[in-house]
Amino acid sequence: MHILLRGRDIKNIDQLDVYEKHDGFVGLKASLAMTPAEVIDQVKASGLRGRGGAGFPTGVKWSFIPQHEPVKFVAVNADESETGTFKDREIMEANPYQLIEGSLICAYAIQAKAIYIYLRGEFWDIGDQLDECIERLRAKGYVGENILGSGYDCEIYTHLGAGAYICGEESAMLNSLEGYLGQPRVRPPFPAQKGGGLYKEATVVNNVETLTNVPFIMREGADAFKAIGTEQSAGNKIYCVSGHVKRPGNYELPMSTTFRELLYDHAGGPLHDDRPFKAMLPSGGSGPIVPLTDEVLDTRMSYEDCADIDTIIGSASIIVMDETVDMTWVASKVTKFFEHESCGKCTPCREGTYWLDKVIDRILDGRGTPEDVKRIADVAENMQGTTLCALGDFAANPIIHTIRRFPDDFAQHVQGEAAAGD
């Protein structure tokens, strides 16, 4: 059953009348009949965790907002830019009203003045589509003053980014919304605190997929949501599968599903039958790479089970690679991504990604030495924990874990005559 990708089950659910006919805004109406604190309690009880990557409990995040502050905001993170991630795009294209309903419920729960949906600039058409949705909703009293006669007022706006991965980081996104460079802020204060959010007001920043779960929780109850998935990872998750599988795409499955079921039953197994799987990045470029062993394949795709195999499920951007893929090349590709996307604010990330890229290119060219492999591992380790945001850590991950888990792939480039240097 789809909770999120309902566009697959219900034709034209991207049309307001169709959405309304299929339980649309039942969750919002139920929320408006409750106190904001009761809404937060229900989302807390559901066990919903943030789907952008960090997995932070959503209701707990909402409860951090100081209710006495007169001005508060919701910022919807639709900047979807992690390598291998394409789930929020399908939600917004095929089921946009559910995202808006979830955003309105969040806004009511924290009594926000307005919602800003921050879309990556390349989602130009989705921005137009959402703007049209918002105007239709306004005409029917779902947006604006006195929403559905509740006395609660809230505006919704879209904002287009312009090509910067870093704006998916919450404090960089807020800077970008304010018209500054999209660079992370020093925390504390955190976005949920006065002084740390949008226009220095307390702000909830939630991912598209996270908020799109909320109408179900408010309509069907916290227990119905909690019944899906695992104890610590409630609900469904959209797994974005790309790379060497027969059927790449989005798969919405309970978080108790194993990688084996996803990659074989749903994604059809290896793209070429004679080339077995070698490895996967389960969380795009950011998370630790893992070899696709039987143990890994039989792991459930939950927050807690992925920790047991020393990786993260994160945004669930599962990039699959078969036995023909050289992990040194993978490390190079991912490093180029982070070198390009580093915002330049923190020295370890800005300089680290630049030099990692240079040295890996040298290794790939056959001009590297075994010391170069040690050097990049050392540089990467020194980037971890030394930057204002997680990008520095993310950029270190592909180096540290490809070297640790696929040492032979690096060794083959730095042995023999080439290793003697030139």
């Binding site: 991630t85 394409f86 600039g121 018209g179 460079l181 226009y199 974005c240 991912v334 991504f337 390009h340």
Partner: protein
């Protein structure tokens, strides 16, 4: 050419100014309008955006420089942004992009001799299951191969040859 006083943009500019708490917040949408008017983010456009928002042109220029979707130099009519990031590369995007550059006789970032196509490799565009893919003027074009791309180039060349209407 101008943004200020141009009836084509007034409604959109007012919409953007109204939706934020500060004028400065409208800098990104206004830069897109400048880019639409001039074909790139040129000094005139930067000056006008600065004037509308009561900012210094240097502040506006720093924003234009930070974000990759604002072009600080003139480009062709069609901007082809080809994803060569890991998921697309696993499905042949590097080879596809090398072929496309050859086909158009350009290097990365270059513009074809007829002035129509500017090509650039870009990072993940959220279409990994439909690789190889690109965006043409920020619109998705997916599940590409050489045949399909040749047809598209022909179609776009034809479009460009049509007299401009409206």
């Amino acid at each position: 050419m101008a943004i200020i006083g141009n009836p084509k943009y007034q409604e959109r500019i007012q919409h953007h100014l109204a939706k934020y708490e500060t004028k400065r917040s409208a800098v990104m949408p206004l830069l897109y309008i400048a880019q639409e008017e001039y074909g790139w983010v040129n000094p005139e456009g930067i000056g006008e955006v600065a004037q509308i928002l009561d900012l210094d042109p240097t502040q506006v220029k720093s924003i234009a420089g930070f974000y990759t979707m604002y072009s600080e130099k003139p480009k062709g009519k069609f901007w082809l942004h080809v994803c060569t990031d890991l998921p697309c590369a696993l499905k042949g995007a590097d080879d596809f992009y090398a072929w496309l550059k050859d086909e158009l006789g350009v290097d990365d970032g270059g513009t074809s001799a007829d002035g129509l196509f500017t090509v650039e490799h870009v990072m993940c565009l959220a279409a990994c299951d439909k690789a190889p893919m690109l965006q043409c003027n920020f619109r998705y074009v997916e599940d590409l191969d050489q045949d399909k791309m040749r047809d598209l180039l022909a179609k776009w060349r034809e479009e460009a040859a049509q007299p401009v209407s409206g």
